[in-house]
């Protein structure tokens, strides 16, 4: 890592982005089952592979958990139409992934991977998080 002296600053900047995203994310957040119905069939296994090789992990984390450079995408991803629209034509800091470099099928695979990510443990079940 280089180029960032203060993670706190990066987080603060990300927070500004993330608040905007949260606003967009919450209404769009639909139960995984509903999403899966709307989404074209995809391979979660290949999705996991390309999520890493195409660089999604760089900003969203290997488990799409989110972090200092991008918001959480899973579990319970946003609806597929909103998802693919955002990846193709992002309106914020995210770099665009056009159909020239990521196929519709691969997007479906990524979406299947995101939909397969299980729920996280509740914060109050992790003792060191309550201190």
């Amino acid at each position: 890592m280089k180029g960032i002296t203060s993670f706190a600053l990066a987080l603060a900047a990300a927070f500004v982005v993330a608040t905007a995203i949260l606003a967009a994310q919450n209404p769009g957040a639909a139960p995984a089952a509903a999403n899966a119905q709307a989404a074209p069939k995809g391979s979660a296994e290949n999705g996991k592979k390309v999520f890493s090789s195409y660089g999604c992990y760089e900003c969203h984390g290997y488990a799409a958990q989110g972090g200092g450079a991008g918001p959480r995408l899973a579990p319970r991803p946003i609806a597929f139409t909103a998802f693919s629209k955002y990846v193709r034509l992002p309106t914020g800091q995210m770099p665009p992934y056009t159909s020239k470099v990521v196929s519709d099928q691969e997007l479906a695979d990524i979406f299947a991977f995101l939909s397969s990510i299980p729920a996280a443990p509740a914060a109050n079940t992790i003792p060191i998080l309550t201190r």
Binding site: M1, K2, G3, I4, T5, S6, F7, A8, L9, A10, L11, A12, A13, F15, V16, V17, T19, S53, Y54, G55, Y57, E58, C59, G61, Y62, A63, Q65, G66, G67, G68, A69, G70, R72, P75, G92, Q93, P95, P96, Y97, T98, K100, V101, V102, A120, P121, A122, A123, I126, I128, L129, T130, R131
Partner: protein
């Protein structure tokens, strides 16, 4: 003693002859001091016959020609002691060899004590870290051209962060006094010019009186907000020649300048704005230097029940807010905010640039910063011009007492009721933000590579019951309960690469005498610039814990290359080329152990992390440095 040596011959000429004719000296007890001068081209006016006879007389090999009991560098040490330096950090260099020896022997290697550094940039960054904690400069010595070239990035960091650093630069200005060969390539006509764009002041004293005055003046300049680095060239002849050449010497008195506080009119106007605003936000920036400063900021925020975003303010105070606080603000007051424009705007890094305002229309912006009092033009670290409604050129901490008084005078019972309502809303939002941060940390909690929130939570769990201080740039945000001004050192700076480790070592050194447990989250790419600072920590028994956030790449650059590949619509799988730090993986624990530091890792299983950190903390509590290498998620 001074008399016994005075003017028996020109010592400098003699030494030149002695250096050039070292072999002859060894062969014969009668040194031919005149021999080298014979080879010189004739001067414009030839000396008289009598003078030539006098000059070419063999100089008796007098012990006094070979020794100097009171070199000028002894006096320089007196000056350093007078200014209260605890430490001088240096990578050794011959241009300050006399000063080095004087520090060690004449000064007893105490106040200042010499710190052995493996790179001049480590010296400079260590001085930054030390000053950020101690609030006063550490001296560093750098070797003329090449040493300062190495040190320069740390000097730039000190300048950008507004940190006082006192740089003593060895150099040999007199061409006739330089040993042939390397001393020529290691000398400069204007040695400090290289860093003049990012230092506050420099000087090249030509006498010891001049040295003392400029040292005191430089110290004062470095310590006057906006603080910054200064350079004092210590000419090698001035160091090595006897003090008696300089006549009576005295130590000039140091009187630090009072930091510039805002004028009463500006304070009254700002107080009025703050009391009248419905949603004021204070940006903490780099305003706070001392516990008293933090107390005043807390009191100001509590009086107004206004949120504070950024800067040194307790992380779990109900009025602490994230960057999003400004979205709703009708007044934003930036206290020494290094990038005010970038805080109130989002700049979209897409092919066609776009700017989004982070504030609502009609918001009033006020800047209160000593940065307006001092700028240089070449390096652009001053950031984009911010259109503010009121600019107060003053030191925020020095202004806080009068601002607080002015605010208190204006608060009416009506406003107080409104403030209390606002305070309740903000407190509720802060409590919710803490819960959100905890929930956010649960995602990826059991992942390998280990998530950054897991890493910070495990570290927090191991330090929370100690008197701890974070000496790194990466912190735990709301997951850590930060309530003392010395617990963080981040903020400002120029994102200088390679600075994290030495900055942490310098800061940890400052914490040592207070018995604080110093910890840092270290970045792998940054560490690799000059890892020798870890050895310095081991050598000088500087206790601190370095937890390696090892994502095995220059990850910021990975994201940049990804952005370019996406924009150019090709090769989106290649962003790691030129950026990855794997194949082979770097074994940081082994590196630490090789330098005499407790090293553990690489830790890949999150369940192994807590115990490894606890073992390392035990080592640090015993007074030694330790490193835990954690294979981590990218961000």
């Amino acid at each position: 003693m001074a008399d016994s040596k005075s003017n028996q011959f020109d010592r400098r000429d003699f030494l030149k002859g002695a250096a050039a004719g070292a072999a002859a000296l060894a062969a014969t007890p009668e040194p031919a001091a005149a021999a080298p001068t014979q080879a010189q081209p004739p001067a414009v006016a030839l000396p008289s016959a009598q003078a030539r006879v006098a000059e070419t007389q063999p100089v008796p090999l007098d012990i006094q020609a070979l020794v100097e009991d009171h070199p000028g560098s002894d006096f320089m040490v007196d000056v350093l002691k007078h200014l209260g330096f605890e430490y001088v950090a240096a990578n050794p260099g011959s241009s300050f060899r006399s000063l080095h020896e004087s520090i060690v022997n004449y000064g007893g290697n105490k106040a200042p004590e010499l710190l052995t550094c493996c790179h001049e940039e480590s010296s400079a960054f260590m001085a930054c870290g030390y000053a950020k904690v101690e609030g006063k400069p550490m001296a560093i010595m750098a070797h003329s051209t090449v040493g300062l070239q190495h040190a320069s990035i740390g000097v730039y960091e000190a300048f950008g962060a507004g940190v006082p650093v006192f740089i003593i630069l060895g150099n040999t200005i007199d061409a006739a006094d330089r040993r042939p060969g390397v001393e020529w390539s290691h000398s400069a006509q204007d040695a400090a010019s290289m860093v003049r764009d990012y230092t506050k002041w420099d000087d090249l004293p030509i006498s010891l009186t001049h040295f003392a005055e400029s040292a005191v003046r430089g110290y004062k300049i470095a310590m006057t907000p906006p603080m910054g680095p200064v350079v004092l060239v210590a000419d090698s002849h001035l160091q090595e020649a006897g003090v008696e050449e300089h006549g009576p010497l005295r130590m000039p008195r140091l009187t630090l300048a009072r930091p510039p506080a805002a004028d009463s009119g500006a304070v009254a106007e700002l107080a009025k704005l703050l009391v009248a605003a419905e949603n004021p936000v204070l940006l903490g920036g780099q305003a706070i230097r001392t516990p008293e400063g933090m107390r005043l900021l807390i009191e100001l925020a509590e009086t107004l029940q206004a949120p504070v975003s950024g800067g040194k303010f307790p992380s779990r105070h109900p009025l602490r807010q994230g960057g999003g606080a400004i979205r709703n603000a009708d007044l934003v007051v930036g206290l020494d905010v290094p990038d005010f424009w970038g805080t109130v705007n989002t700049y979209l890094d897409q092919h066609v640039r776009r700017v989004q305002s982070n504030t609502r229309p009609g918001v009033k912006l006020v800047s209160l910063t000593s940065g307006d009092l001092y700028l240089k033009s070449n390096y652009q670290n001053f950031q984009r011009y911010t259109e503010v409604d009121m600019a107060i050129a003053a030191d925020p901490e020095a202004t806080l007492p009068s601002l607080l008084e002015a605010v208190k005078r204006l608060v009416t019972p009506d406003r107080q009721r409104a403030f209390a309502e606002r305070g309740k809303r903000i407190a509720a939002a802060s409590a919710q933000a803490l819960e959100q941060a905890r929930t956010a940390a649960t995602f990826g909690w059991n992942e390998s590579p280990i998530s950054v929130p897991r890493l910070t939570a495990e570290l927090w769990n191991a330090i929370k019951d100690h008197d701890w201080a974070n000496v790194g740039g990466v912190g735990g945000g709301p997951l850590w309960n930060i309530d003392k001004h010395y617990q963080t050192i981040d903020g400002g700076g120029v994102s200088a690469e390679g600075g994290d480790l030495p900055t942490a070592v310098g800061a940890a050194l400052a914490h040592r005498k207070h018995g604080r447990l110093a910890v840092s989250i270290q970045k792998d790419g940054d560490f690799m610039y000059a890892p020798g600072a870890l050895w310095t920590a081991a050598h000088h028994r500087i206790p601190f814990l370095s937890v390696m956030h090892n994502n095995r790449c220059y990850h910021q650059e990975v994201m940049h290359i990804q952005r370019m590949a996406n924009r150019h619509q090709r090769g989106i799988t290649n962003a790691g080329i030129g950026n990855r730090l794997d194949d082979p993986n770097i074994d940081f624990a082994a590196m630490a152990r090789a330098m005499g530091v407790h090293g553990e890792g690489p830790i890949t299983n999150p369940n192994d992390l807590g115990p490894a950190i606890r073992r390392a903390v035990d080592v640090v509590l015993k007074g030694e440095p330790a490193l835990v290498d954690v294979v981590s998620q990218p961000r």
